[in-house]
Amino acid sequence: MRRLLVLFFVTLLLGCASTAPTAPRATGDLVLIIERASGHVTLASTTSRQPYARIGGLGDLSHASAVYSRDGRYAYVFGRDGALSKIDMLEARVVKRVVQSGNAIGGSISQDGRIVVAQNYTPGGIKAFDAETLELLSEVPAEYAPGQFSKVVGLADTAGNKFAYALFEAGEIWVTDFSNPRQPQTQRFPAGKNPYDGLVTPDGRYFMAGLFGEDGIALLDLWQTDRGARKILQNYGRGEERLPVYKMPHLRGWTMAQGKVYLPAVGRHEVLVVDATTWQEVGRIPVRGQPVFVMARPDGRQIWVNFSFPDYSKIDVIDTLQGKVVSQLEPGKGILHMEFTPRGEHVWLSARDDHKILIYSTETLTQIGDIKADAPSGIFFSSRAHRIGF
């Protein structure tokens, strides 16, 4: 009888809780911040510029990244330790978590939002999961020769539930079609020596793989894959001795601005500028270190560049109209990542060693706010939900 009574009250309470009026919340202006050292993520609003939740227990988040479901409600976080966590941005909790490999390096979500694909270093390859349940659908081992597996880099979603990625050891670009998610079909293209990352252009047409083992970029037209991958920016190093690279640059579709592609040089303190119709080099812009992220403001007027160790407390801002650096900032210690608001009025910077996210106005180039975070690295806005190649 007592048990029944308890049950009655609990039911009553739950009933009250669920019918209590709560203001509906939308997802268009949310952000997930990776706190790499402590296995936490902080959730915040880009409108109030305040955090609203913090979630822990996510494992090794060094180099972690996130993609969003098409409604922006769920973030899929890919941890370094191979864990894939699905986070409800509204209820601020982990909905599902699977450990899918030994060592992962990010992932991507399909055009229709139904398939989440993780890219792995060990064992090298990609794995496709049901976005709803995180059930494993299929996998494509990066076995480029019998018994030889490659690390996978640069995975990006493209049209038709296809994913493009590069194989570091194999020097190839692979495109896998998941239109039948349990029976993926893969095409292979020779790319060049040691691709380190890749990107899909904002229109979804081209996949580019930056090469570490040689000077150049491999370019594949995804509309005409029968033509194969070709090399652009060949020998941009002009045979000169490279400067040491203490961190690999990162590529994504933010590299396009005003009909040009702005790319980090490897082993040179330069941003390379390529015409996106002729794919010829049209300029190079000296900067203050080895570029890591070369990121265009959404309107393409500015390019923000951060650098690898030991120059990672600096930011250079390029004006695309003038084709040169117009502002040299020192916003904080260990600037690891940047993210622009979708219309470009603000940029969020993670200052790892200051344990802060710094929010800057792109108009005045001054700081307008900050958020505390424990050794923050990646910053992922929910607006990524609507972009191909992210």
Binding site: R36, A37, D60, S62, H63, R80, D81, G102, N103, I105, Y121, T122, K151, V153, F168, N194, Y196, F212, P244, V245, Y246, K247, M248, F309, P310, G334, R352
Partner: protein, 135 residues
């Protein structure tokens, strides 16, 4: 490597070697005596001089976890660069590992770190890696 072809060249080389061996021995003897004398005077000073101070140790641990970690993983389980856990390094020579840190490995993605640390500090990092790296 090419071997000496003519006998004259071989003789010349032999003589050179003999001279080199003799002078090296003599030099080593002299050095040994000198070393014994200073070692007795300063005790284990030569060994402790290689260990960085506490503040520097903290900086080096931070550098390995954070900067090296961008390729080797913050937990050193590997990434684009190989894993650096004790089990992964067991078969490797400590000297070779320290040289890799200090000079880098040409033709790979491993850069030289000599701008940021001394050879002794590279050796200290290797010792710590082999023993299980501090957090």
């Amino acid at each position: 490597m090419s071997r000496p072809r003519s006998s004259r060249a071989a003789l010349r080389r032999k003589a050179a070697w003999r001279w080199l061996a003799r002078s090296t021995l003599a030099l080593a003897g002299a050095l040994l005596m000198l070393f014994q004398a200073t070692a007795e005077a300063s005790g284990a000073a030569a060994e402790t001089a290689a260990v960085p101070g506490m503040e520097r140790q903290r900086q080096l641990v931070h550098m390995v976890r954070q900067e090296c970690g961008s390729c080797h993983g913050m937990s050193l389980q590997g990434g684009l660069g190989p894993a650096l856990l004790p089990a992964d390094l067991q078969e490797k020579s400590a000297e070779g590992l320290a040289a890799t840190i200090y000079h880098g490995r040409h033709g790979t993605a491993m850069p030289p770190w000599q701008r940021f640390l001394t050879e002794a500090e590279a050796t200290w990092i290797v010792e710590r890696l082999l023993a299980g790296f501090p957090e």
